[in-house]
């Protein structure tokens, strides 16, 4: 009798251990990831943070605009140089 109980206990323990190795017995029964099937597991995507308009600092905007406008003045000077070189010349007949 003792031997039978020991054998049964061993068989149960082995079964539990094997189930654990596979990641849990009930997981295989779950449907593939997808819409909620009512299984109690709800797939959710992280909710995007509510859009908030960051307060725009006028002084910072002016400072950035100053930098951009300095760069734009350089671009305009470079542009004028290129357009001057692209002007027609007497050699253009060739």
């Amino acid at each position: 009798m003792r031997r039978a109980i020991a054998m049964t206990a061993l068989a149960v323990a082995l079964g539990v251990a094997l189930s654990g190795c596979r990641g849990g017995g009930n997981r295989d029964a779950l449907p593939p990831a997808g819409p909620d099937t009512g299984s109690g597991v709800v797939a959710t995507t992280p909710a995007s943070a509510p859009k908030t308009t960051a307060p725009v600092d006028a002084a910072a905007a002016v400072s950035q605009a100053d930098k951009d406008l300095v760069e734009l003045d350089k671009l305009l000077a470079e542009l004028d140089g290129q357009l001057k070189k692209a002007e027609e010349s007497p050699n253009d007949e060739d």
Binding site: T53, P55, V56, D57, A58, A59, A61, V62, Q64, A65, D66, D68, L69, E71, L72, D73, L75, L76, E78, L79, D80, Q82, L83, K85, A86, E87, E88, S89, N91, D92, E93, D94
Partner: protein
Amino acid sequence: MKTDLLIRRGLLFAAMTLTATALAAATGMPAQAVTPVAGVAVQAADQAANLANAKKLTTVRIDGRLALLRAEGVAIRNAARLTDAHQTALQKIIDADIAGLTELRAKVAAETTPEAVRADARSMVEDYRVYLLVRPQVHLTLAADVESAALTRLRTLHDKLAQAVAAARSAGKDVGDAEAKLAHMKSELDAMGSALSGLADELLAVQPGPDAAAIKARTTAARADARTARTHLRAATTDAKAIRDLLKP
């Protein structure tokens, strides 16, 4: 007395005739034959000189083109705003033209007739169009890419200024006609984008050829578009400066 004079004139005539006869005998040919032979020699010398001059002139014209192409090569390699695609396309044109004109230069040196040199000179012009086409291709593409860079920067600046104007107005600040200026700036940027659309790519697709008028029409149109874009760029920049000033505390 009169008789003496006649005798002297007769003797003088006889002496002159004898001298002429002796000279003709010394040259070994009749006086009439000298002129045609000398003419042929002079003509041959003229032709050789003409050939040499034609070769020299054509070589100088080729060298001028090669110098320009090398300078343009340096310009495109140093252009910070040029896109990779445009730089590759321009470098390909310049490399091909330098190789072709260098080969043509050697061909000219070996020519033996003025007609062949003239054909080479025509090839130098029509097969390359260095002045009429390549130079505008380089500088208008550079200009268009500078304008595109400016357009991108101005669009970003417009959006930042629009946010700042909205925030300032919400905070109770008087921003005058900033919204109207923003709208005008946007329309200028849109017009600039239209003028720039396809400008460089269409110009780079133009090929050299004998129809100079057709090529000139394409470069003139591209030049006009680049100038139009510049006009809108200046207007948009002026708007941005005005809006910036309105935002200043």
